[in-house]
Amino acid sequence: MIKVLIAKPGLDGHDRGAKVVALALKEAGMEVVYSGLHKTIDQIVSMAIQEDVDVIGLSIMSGAHIPLTRKLMEKLKELGIEDKKVFVGGVIPSKDIPKLKEMGVTGVFPGGTPLEEIVKAIKASVNK
């Protein structure tokens, strides 16, 4: 079973989208852990290790997606766990999508992405 951590990094508390995606992934047969609000990148990485997830989904609405994602990717590298797939969703301007992908993010889901598309992309990224 694919295991996913849906995480809300930083101070932003708009979590409607994160919760909706979490429910969609659950209904698609995945195991989902939700981080809760206001988590630091270190806390998110610890949760990902503890829960042994295959996928980390960052939900960011505040516009701080570039520095937050960069921090996460560096941390994963530092700990040698780059095999965990990372997806970023939320208010993400299209010009930032290539920047996130360059950092090693597997997929980006700006607001308005159909849930089905998210489920498909996550399933395709994990060989399980």
Partner: protein, 542 residues
């Protein structure tokens, strides 16, 4: 989306219309419908300005005074925000509504590691009263009401606001501020909570209690159904939960020995407009009526003006789409129309680019002009509550009233609003509803133009507000400068007094004022609370 569901039969004819709150709408309404609901003009409507205020709280409505236009504004440094305030006022805006950045909302200073990347991003940064001195420089605080969109640290922000208002020569008794100060809604939606529920409610209560005597023209709380609806609530739930939250605050202040008649007149509401137009209008009319009735029944409120439901009815948020962004201008115009037809005291409108980021001056101005066109061009001020007496509207208003009461009962049966929030009962329910709405859109059952009907290819590029990385550096420099020049002795002394007052359960407001005068930072004051109260433990919702 969050509009009505239109269920079609095989021949593709519209069979049934069901509103979000669960009301089925008939194709035709006649006098018989009013008969069936036992409609009485005196009891259900009455004249505008008369109990139960279904037709509005003022006899002459907008004929005597138009609604206040209060666009949510703020970004970057206080200087940048001050410039934007002046820009909006120069274009005819009549109230201010201050947006604070996330570190400020969460009680962190701009130089805190937790603030990294967030300083000035979605609102203006505030560290000390120096920032308010700059932000409100040249603003006539005795003429323009100021909404302060802040909750967990509303007590601190209001203390800063009072300190600066006094510094600029205004009597706090004459300024009319509206700190949002609704912590329970933060725990349901929006998520800018810090302290556990009981301590959060205590701080909200401290602000309300303080304002009774010290700032009588200030509205100490703006209860926000708005954010509850953004999280997936139906219109009936939006009103029901907001009322229960308001009652929790009333109970808190009542326990301190005050009569509700002494303070409920300062309560205001912030409600959401998106969704089906008729359901929204009926929602506001029913809410105004119910609020007056419930205050009378539950709290024995006697003074007529204390029964008024006053509110900012704003449109945007979840109603807007990222697809075909210009459609949001049109949506905004309809939301403003609904707010005006519903008797809003104040309106704020999200701009067309707000599904992406905070608005540019251009888009903020379009929103303001939208409100002004309604006000000055198309006749929304001509007569009070023009929809009154409509067979449909009156039937729907009555049905909405019943739905709101049903939703309130459900929560009271569960054990009350505080328990329902602490347990995550409401959050769980709304997350599920939000998910069902998304699925409804994907199945094409809930229609959304540009999203699941009349879809175009790639989304158009929109000119967006650019975040200025320099703002954070300038803000942190200014904070450093203040820390160098203030009296450390005064800072330590006032923080210590705040600490012992907080521990002993005294009202924190007078102590916060002393801290503000000594240029203590927001982060320093919040740390005192954090140390004593701890943090809210979010209930697990899955």
């Amino acid at each position: 989306m969050s509009t009505a569901r239109y269920i079609k039969d095989d021949k593709d004819q519209i069979l049934d219309v069901i509103y979000e709150s669960g009301i089925h709408v008939k194709p035709v309404y006649t006098p018989k419908d009013l008969e069936e609901i036992g409609f009485s003009y005196e009891e259900d409507l009455n004249d505008p300005g008369k109990f139960p205020f279904t037709r509005g709280i003022h006899a002459l409505g907008y004929r005597s005074r138009a609604w206040t236009t209060r666009q949510y504004t703020g970004f970057g440094t206080p200087k940048e925000t001050n410039e934007r305030f002046k820009f909006m006022i120069a274009h005819g805006q009549t109230g201010l509504n201050v947006a604070f950045d996330l570190p400020t909302q969460m009680g962190y200073d701009s130089d805190d590691p937790m603030a990294e990347g967030e300083v000035g991003r979605v609102g203006m940064a505030v560290d000390t009263i120096r920032d308010f001195e700059i932000a409100f420089d040249g603003i006539e605080l005795d003429r323009i009401g100021v909404g302060l969109t802040i909750n967990a640290v509303a007590s601190i922000i209001l203390a800063m606001f009072q300190t600066v208002a006094e510094k600029y020569g205004y009597d706090p008794k004459t300024v009319s501020a509206t700190p949002q100060n609704d912590i329970l809604k933060e725990m349901i939606g929006r998520g800018a909570w810090i302290f556990p529920v009981e301590h959060g409610v205590r701080l909200t209560g401290d602000v309300i209690e303080y304002c009774i005597k010290a700032m009588p023209k200030t509205n100490p709380v703006s209860v926000c159904g708005y954010h509850i609806r953004e999280s997936g609530a139906t219109p009936a739930q939006e009103i029901a939960y907001a009322f229960l939250i308001a009652f929790a605050y009333i109970d808190n202040v009542k326990e301190r020995g005050y009569e509700p008649d002494e303070f409920v007149g300062g309560f205001t509401f912030n409600f959401n407009v998106f969704g089906n137009m008729w359901e929204q209008i009926a929602k506001f009319r029913a809410a105004r009526k119910l609020w007056a009735k419930l205050l009378k029944e539950r709290y024995n409120v006697k003074k007529e003006r204390n029964l008024f439901l006053r509110g900012i009815f704003g449109g945007g948020g979840y109603g807007l789409t990222k697809a075909q962004p210009e459609n949001n201008i049109v949506r905004g115009a309809y939301y403003a129309l609904v707010a005006a037809l519903s008797g809003a005291q104040t309106t704020a409108l999200c701009s067309y680019d707000e599904a992406y980021t905070i608005p540019t001056p251009h888009s903020a101005l379009i929103s303001l002009r939208t409100l002004q066109i309604l006000m000055d061009e198309v006749g929304l001020r001509d007569t009070v509550d023009p929809l009154a007496g409509s067979y449909f509207i009156e039937t729907l208003t009555k049905q909405m009233e019943e739905k709101i009461l049903e939703e309130m009962e459900k929560i009271e049966k569960y054990g009350g609003i505080i328990k329902a929030i602490s347990d995550g009962f409401i959050q769980r329910m709304l997350a599920r509803q939000a998910y069902e709405i998304e699925k409804g859109i994907e199945r094409g059952e809930l229609l959304k133009v540009g999203v699941n009907i009349y879809v175009e290819g790639e989304p158009k590029e929109v000119e967006l507000h650019e975040y200025n990385e320099e703002s954070a550096r300038i803000q942190i420099e200014s904070l450093k400068e203040i820390k160098r020049t203030r009296s450390q002795k005064e800072v330590a002394k006032t923080l210590k007094e705040l600490e012992s007052a907080t521990r002993s359960g005294k009202n924190v407001m007078p102590y916060l004022l002393e801290c503000c005068k000594a240029y203590c930072t927001l982060g320093e004051m919040t740390s005192v609370f954090r140390e004593i109260f701890g943090e809210f433990q979010e209930p697990s919702i899955f």
